[in-house]
Amino acid sequence: MHMLVLTKGVPDFREGKVSFDEDGHLERGKTPTVMNPNDKIALRAALQTKVKCGGSVSLMSMGPPGYKEILQEGMADVYAEDLYLLSDREMGAADTWATAMTIATGIEQFDAEPDIIFAGFKTADGETGHTGPQTNWCIDINEELTDRPLITHVIAMEVDEEEQVVRAKRLVEGDVSEIETIEADLPAFIVTDPEFEANYRKAEHRLRYKDCREETRERAENLDLEEDVTVWNHEALNLDPDFIGLDGSPTIVSGVDPIPKGPSERDATMIDPDDEAGMEQVFETMAEYAAGD
């Protein structure tokens, strides 16, 4: 079973890591880039499948050469066997359509179609949630099959290798939330939901999981970023620059504003926690709602 996981590097939005300028704009240069947190969830789904069914896991990203380190991070942190980076100035500033076009073409470079392609839900920066579905729609690799089944918002999954089907639970949100159980033939494209949970119920799975993690950590440590990451540019993919990157993107960002600050609506009483009188005032407000004995 060949599994491919798609990933992207994003600014590290955690408190203390993320940096803003005076006007409240994100300072990309001062903010470290990390693997998109949702993509780690997709990697976990791939690892779970690998542990239970065997096979190999490839990890692919599109971005600047520095993203090799993101691929390495994904390899070390979750699990991956081989790494691919689609990298070229022409691919820069792509929106979801142009990204999907590029990644789909990258996927078409494999000799055989991956059995399962995994993607995470939104990225922490663009936050569209479009790239997974659009990539699946774009892939044109198999003449017999115009599109692989697209299964999004997956919170649990199992692959039945014998029958070549995937069974999954997906989260449907609307005015009420629902869980759907679905079944589809492989090959398939899976987008994991942030609520996805891997499960390793059998002892042999837990052992194999441990082995896989150790093996991949060792591989990640010894990784030669120059040698061991396959890099494809637009020429290798034979992609016309007019259809990728900024030039191929239907949408542009016309303005970025810091989240506007709401007008001051309450006049806060400032309280120093060491000031007894001030704290007493707050305590009194709260005591009214305290749990009784």
Binding site: G129, E178, E195, I259, D272, E276
Partner: protein, 548 residues
């Protein structure tokens, strides 16, 4: 006496005729004839909007004389649109700079100057199409032939198509919210532009797909649709990516209908629900166009674009009109971006697509008297479109209801000043110190991927999120510990009676909507609050604390 009797004409022919009339009395007379005769809602809107436009013109302010300080930025934007004299604009600019000096107003005026001056330079400098084989001779050229690439250019686009998602046989609320907003947008659009390029009003087209949705379709009219297109099939009872996408695209691109005499829609709007967002991505992908997801507003306006990818000429600015502006929070809620979907030379990017966060727009009151047309769409749905089988579905038990409690304790990213796990523990303890309280979280805590200890994991999930995309609460007491107070959070809690913030940063935005602001670390302050509440003896706790 009216020269025009609308009842003699089809609505489609009336657009240009009504636009030609400049006399309000004549229009009033025509309106009366229509009311007494066929009384078609669309015709009345058409005439009324023309009357409104003319009346607005009468009150016109002279841009050369106007007191700009009396006008809003939107008024100025409308005003400059009709000014072609750069000197008048330059003068306006000076007056604005001397007056209120609003950034938005200045940009509007400058953009207009640029549009006029830019258009002078363009003459005689037509862009020329270079075939890809000449432009990039080293590449083999399959890209334009790739599946789903459509290199349409200069085609006709009209109307706003709205996907009305259903769940358990009813429209989800956001479907009705979108119809109300679409109605408003297209009414303004028809007022501003006088309809499409030929003067015909553009419509709101509602799309309903599912099992036995024909009766539901009628309801879309009351919420603002001019036309409803529905497709029903028992296999469509639940959302399926492939058939829903194919059906939507066939309706709006391939379906041969007299009224749909255009290439593709001008605009498409979807709900930003799990399924709606997926459908938006696939439909826009298939139609070879772009979209913005999770929008928190929508408006149609001109846009001055200098991006060479769109203008084809570095250094120039080009004005694009009728552009759907799509503001949305991104960067994990740290910034707002306004996304535009814009044609480039020799390649159209229409429809301009958006998905909308549920609850963004007001739920409109249905107008049962509204008239519109309901059409059934019927094509064969091949079995292989149903390659995903839904074997089971269950409604989830409602998660945690944060509304209706006396007290809400909300934790923000301040919990990572020390150990996030300990932060959650403190939040739970504080909650339990109150008689009727629940624990809420900001979106930041949920998306930050902290590694929580197993025993607190159950508390961290979207079901506890407070804010724009979470729950909206209004307890008697709201305690915000380590919450910076992003505007998306504010909308979820600012109706609370008393708000107490605990934050180390006295400049945190939340100060502006707190009643008490304890300037301190939640890891020090919260334990004291817990102890005080549990023992009922604040004085001792305070005395101990200040003795430290």
């Amino acid at each position: 006496m009216a020269d025009l009797d609308p009842t003699d004409h089809e609505i489609a022919d009336l657009g240009p005729k009504v636009q030609e009339i400049d006399d309000v009395d004549e229009l009033e007379a025509a309106l009366e004839l229509e009311e007494d005769g066929e009384d078609r809602a669309g015709v009345k809107t058409l005439i009324e909007s023309r009357i409104e436009t003319l009346e607005a013109e009468d009150e016109d302010v002279d841009p050369a004389e106007a007191d700009l300080t009396e006008l809003t930025v939107a008024d100025i934007a409308n005003l400059v649109r009709d000014v072609d004299d750069v000197d008048v604009l330059e003068d306006m600019l000076e007056r604005e700079q001397a007056g209120k000096e609003r950034k938005g107003a200045i940009t509007q005026i400058e953009n207009r100057v640029e549009a006029i001056e830019g258009s002078d330079e363009e003459e005689g400098e037509e862009l020329e199409y270079v075939p890809p084989e000449e432009k990039y001779p080293d590449l083999a050229h399959p890209t334009a032939d790739k599946q789903y690439v459509d290199t349409a250019a200069g085609e006709d686009y009209r109307d706003m198509w709205v996907y009305c998602e259903t769940q358990q046989g009813e429209f989800v609320d956001v479907a009705r919210e979108m119809l109300g907003k679409a109605r408003q947008l297209m009414d303004d659009y028809n007022d501003t532009y006088g309809g499409d390029e030929d003067g015909n009003p553009e419509e709101v087209v509602a799309v309903v797909i599912g099992d036995e949705v024909g009766d539901l379709a009628e309801k879309a009219i009351a919420y603002g649709a001019d036309r409803v297109v529905y497709h029903e099939d028992d296999r469509l009872e639940r959302f399926r990516h492939k058939p829903y996408t194919e059906i939507f695209c066939h309706m709006c691109r391939d379906w041969d209908q007299d009224w749909r005499d255009y290439y593709e829609p001008r605009y498409t709007i979807f709900p930003a629900t799990n399924n709606g967002r997926d459908l938006s991505a696939l439909v826009q992908g298939e139609l070879d166009s772009g979209l913005a997801s999770d929008c928190s507003d929508l408006y149609i306006d001109e846009a001055m674009i200098s991006n060479p990818a769109k203008t084809g000429k570095p250094g120039d600015s080009v004005e694009f009109d009728r552009v759907l502006h799509m503001p949305r929070p991104d960067f994990s809620g740290f910034e707002y971006s306004t996304i535009l979907c814009i044609d480039k030379p020799f390649r159209d990017f229409h429809p301009q697509g958006a998905s909308v966060i549920p609850g963004t727009f007001d739920l409109p009151d249905p107008d049962e008297g509204r008239e519109g047309e309901v059409l059934e769409h019927d094509i064969d749905l091949p079995e292989d479109w149903f390659h995903i089988e839904v074997t089971e579905h269950d409604q989830l038990e409602e998660g945690i209801d944060l509304t209706g409690h006396e007290v809400i304790v909300c934790l923000g990213r301040g919990i990572d000043h020390e150990d996030p796990t300990e932060g959650i523990e403190l939040g739970v303890e504080l909650r339990d110190a109150f008689a009727d309280a629940e624990l809420g979280l900001t979106r930041g805590v949920i998306t930050a991927s902290y590694e929580f200890g197993g025993h607190v994991e159950q508390y961290v999930g979207e079901e506890r999120q407070i804010g724009e995309s979470g729950q909206v609460v209004e307890p008697a007491l709201y305690i915000a510990a380590g919450v910076s107070g992003a505007v998306q959070h504010k909308v979820g809690m600012d109706e609370s009676d008393t708000i107490v913030a605990i934050n180390t940063d006295p400049e945190a935005d939340i100060r502006d909507f707190s009643d008490y602001f304890i300037e301190g670390d939640l890891f020090e302050v919260v334990p004291r609050l817990i102890e005080g509440l549990e023992t009922g003896d604040f004085e001792t706790v305070l005395a101990e604390a200040t003795d430290d």
